[in-house]
Assembly symmetry: C2
Homo-oligomer: 225 residues x 2
Amino acid sequence: MSTLIYMKKDAAKRTPKMKAGGRERNKERTKERILKAALQLFRERGLERATTREISKRACIAEGTLFNYFKTKEDLALYFFQKETEGLIRWFRAEKRLQKAPLAEQLFAIIHRQLEYIEPYEDFIGAVFARSLQPASSLSPLSFDSQELRLKYLRFIREILAAAEERGEIPPVGNLGAYGVGLFYLGIVTHWLHDGSRGKQRTLALLDRALSFGARMLQKGTWEW
Amino acid sequence: MSTLIYMKKDAAKRTPKMKAGGRERNKERTKERILKAALQLFRERGLERATTREISKRACIAEGTLFNYFKTKEDLALYFFQKETEGLIRWFRAEKRLQKAPLAEQLFAIIHRQLEYIEPYEDFIGAVFARSLQPASSLSPLSFDSQELRLKYLRFIREILAAAEERGEIPPVGNLGAYGVGLFYLGIVTHWLHDGSRGKQRTLALLDRALSFGARMLQKGTWEW
DNA sequence: CTTGAATTATGAGCATGCTCAACTTTTCCG
DNA sequence: CGGAAAAGTTGAGCATGCTCATAATTCAAG
């Protein structure tokens, strides 16, 4: 009986012996397949209603295999943000014109781009985003990666602030400034999630006003207190 | 066989026939028992690791009964915040001296009290708090209650701001002002959750500085822009 | 007190995220 | 090639949050 359990599965879907292209290659492909299936399902059903069982099925692997590639379902979801953060940084580096624009414009462009990217996934962003707020718990293996991701983002922002500082646009704000921008972004996304207006226009308006307000405040030297 | 399933459970723990004090009374008592057991377990193990099975057992009821009283486990957790919010409001109404203090001091006292109250439950507050950020989903019956709770809090804050406004302490800030304080509180709790310093002193310092900064800002009339 | 309807309690059972021991495939080395 | 160690895969199975058909309890009317 127990010998019957491990029968080969539908061979049409995935060749059992994929000796062809080295191990590394296959692992990469499998990971890609998982990510693709996951994003599809997240988009279709949202984070909660996309089951790991269905993701695995769509990626043509066993459910256990999924957890060889991603420690948890959340980890899988975080991957999405990681890719986006990296993309965002690359994008900004390429936008030469933006590099010289005023700080408020830069931040607007950055946050706007993120909101745009996030838009089709609104359903599940709420869940992931809220979860990403949870503090590091030594029990959760996820927390470390999440922390890493946040750090990467913070360093990126700090760099932008430092540049504006060098241009004499703002006084020195240091790490705290980056943290502040992070909190601000938090607030914006919260607003965005609740925003029912067409095209999320209210959020964009808020973003614009808040940023120019902040910029003016910094210019006025209100920061030194 | 199926007739054997529904046997009376250990009669020592709970009298099977509690005809005594009317139905209402019993419901109240059961609810109390559930809440007590739940808070105990949340405190002991945090939200995730406190199972509904154990809560039920400790409250001496079947697991299904728990869900007659609370729609979801989250709902159960929210109850805790509801009680706290109500307590907070009552407390503030009683503190005659605070009513006349400057706005920054009032907000400091309010937030400080909340942090203090929350302290023993830090483990599970993160989870509940983060979850409370999730936008309303028509599927979740919880969302409505959650919204209600948030509204109660916002109205409370708005009232305080209105009073400060009447004293001529700040310009009119309206609903947006209350929302802003709410977002600020969000940031503070996030910081608090991550704060490893002794007695969360860093958070308290941040709270103090940020509030007096905000107060000064409003006084300077920077708000009109 | 009886009766039957309304209310409340019960726990087997379901779907889900995740684990793990058993199994397969690939790689390595003689 | 041979064969064994390493790396990867698998799906049965576990714990958990929650549901639902069924049973127990309560209460008002007769």
